[in-house]
Amino acid sequence: MAMYHPGLAKFLETYGIVVIVVAMMIGLTIMEPMVFLTPTNLTNIIKQNASAALLALGMFVVVVTAGIDLSVGSVMALAMITLAVANRAELPWPVVIVVGPLVGIACGLVNGIGLTWLKLPHPFIMTLGTLNIARGLSNIVSGGAPISGLQPEVRFLGTALIPFSATDPTIGLPASAILVAVSAIGLAYFLHRTSVGRHIYAIGGNPQAARVSGISVDRVLVLVYALCGFFTGLAALLLAGRTNSGFPNAGIGAELDAIAAVIIGGASFFGGRGTVLGVLAGVLIIGLLRNGLNLLDVAVFWQQILIGLVIIAAVYMDVLRRRAAVRT
């Protein structure tokens, strides 16, 4: 005698992912009581996942339009290397900081304009191309070797901590967390409360509907990919700060993690669905998995297997939801 609770179903659909995150944290606290819930570990989790969170936010906007951006890892490397080169050329630190997001936006524009202008059948193709181009450029610009040593102001966002107490300056809220929070809130506002944000969802839901409503789909797509590039550039800035370098192997595979976080967080691969909160939860789920398995000294291959299973489960739930929607 199953009772249909439309309220519960809606709640789970929107906030179910947060429930999972909380459940994971409780589980990990039980398994590693001495370490998991400590300020050091929690701070670590934030530091380790901040740039991944920004990449995921950028990927999310693209996925909402039923698109994909395979180039984010390589673009992040290119942005890191470029800002490291700018730093080495002793440019003033505000310029170096701005270089990161600028390179990201430029690559995003290449993606968006290339995709729409060349009328390519799918962004997979365009961004696969830019993935390789950006990686090659990273190697050329860097000469194949990492560039170390950034000005402290440039490193600030990647490393700074706002200490909780004066006694221990190593424990506090990372500046990167604030950057991620501000980005997430800003993006959520843009997507849910502005016309262009709504158009992005409409394009994902039915591009024809967007077109007949007078929306310039091409223009919005260029904006979307540029926005993704912007977040990628921010992620590059964070990672450069954290590692005090730009290194050519940065971000290999990062695009796949970003896609995983977005999908696990509830966005539909087919576009038109998902929330910023879900994306952050997706990043956290992957981050908690990794952190938990690190603390339990589990080999990193199990992490890969588990993350793979979680992705499949998340997409399967999306499939079930779509089937249920069709039936009504």
Binding site: S195, N206, A210, V212, I215
Partner: protein, 264 residues
Amino acid sequence: MAEAGGNGSGYLLEARGITKYFGAVTALRDVNFHLLRGEVLGVVGDNGAGKSTLMKILSGLYQPSSGELLFEGGPAAFTSPRDARGKGIEMVYQDFALAGNMPIYENIYLGREPGLRLPGLTIVDRARSRAMAQAHLDKLKIHVKSVDQNVEDLSGGQRQAVAIARSTAFDARIVIMDEPTAALAIKEVGKVLDLIKGLKDHGVGVILISHRMDDIFYVCDRVMALFQGTNFAEAPLKDTSRNEVIGWIMGAKGHREALAHDKV
């Protein structure tokens, strides 16, 4: 009630000598017609007769190779769908062209969201949008559980109703409907046709492309036929019959018993 509009010719919309070439292909040749305010004009024709080309010209997607359009008595050129929409010509599509993942009220105002206008984007006023949508649906006597329902959760008939509501949300003068009941279940067709009749009461001119005689004979005031890209026949509904209209589609004029469905 059909009434004469504007000055001069008195027509809401008039097309004179509309011709359209696509390279070597002549899609339309010297097409003429007119539409009065509050009138429902049925347009019939076989595939390739030129109906959708004509509608695309009226809705601004194409420009005619030659000929002229007069809108409310004055010359008109619709340079783009946005332009045509802005002047009061809207289209309702066979597959609704709605974003299923978004609620009714957002679909109705998609691209024209009410709110604070800034350069480049609008801060949407969701409360106002909801209220306007509800009022508009009430005016058209469309019943849905809530304007917050996602369009994908609606039935086919309800979706078409929302599409029609979208086309009339901004004081459209003319609504062009391309096979509006083709994708609907039988029991939903009647409701949509009544909705179309309701538009007449609000003075909207409707152009209805359809191949369903039942629909045409229920809701239209006049019917015209295109054949091979040009005018073939036209008559007020009371002066013609189903069989004759079917004959027009096939390129035959006059009453032909032989063309009745059960005899063809």
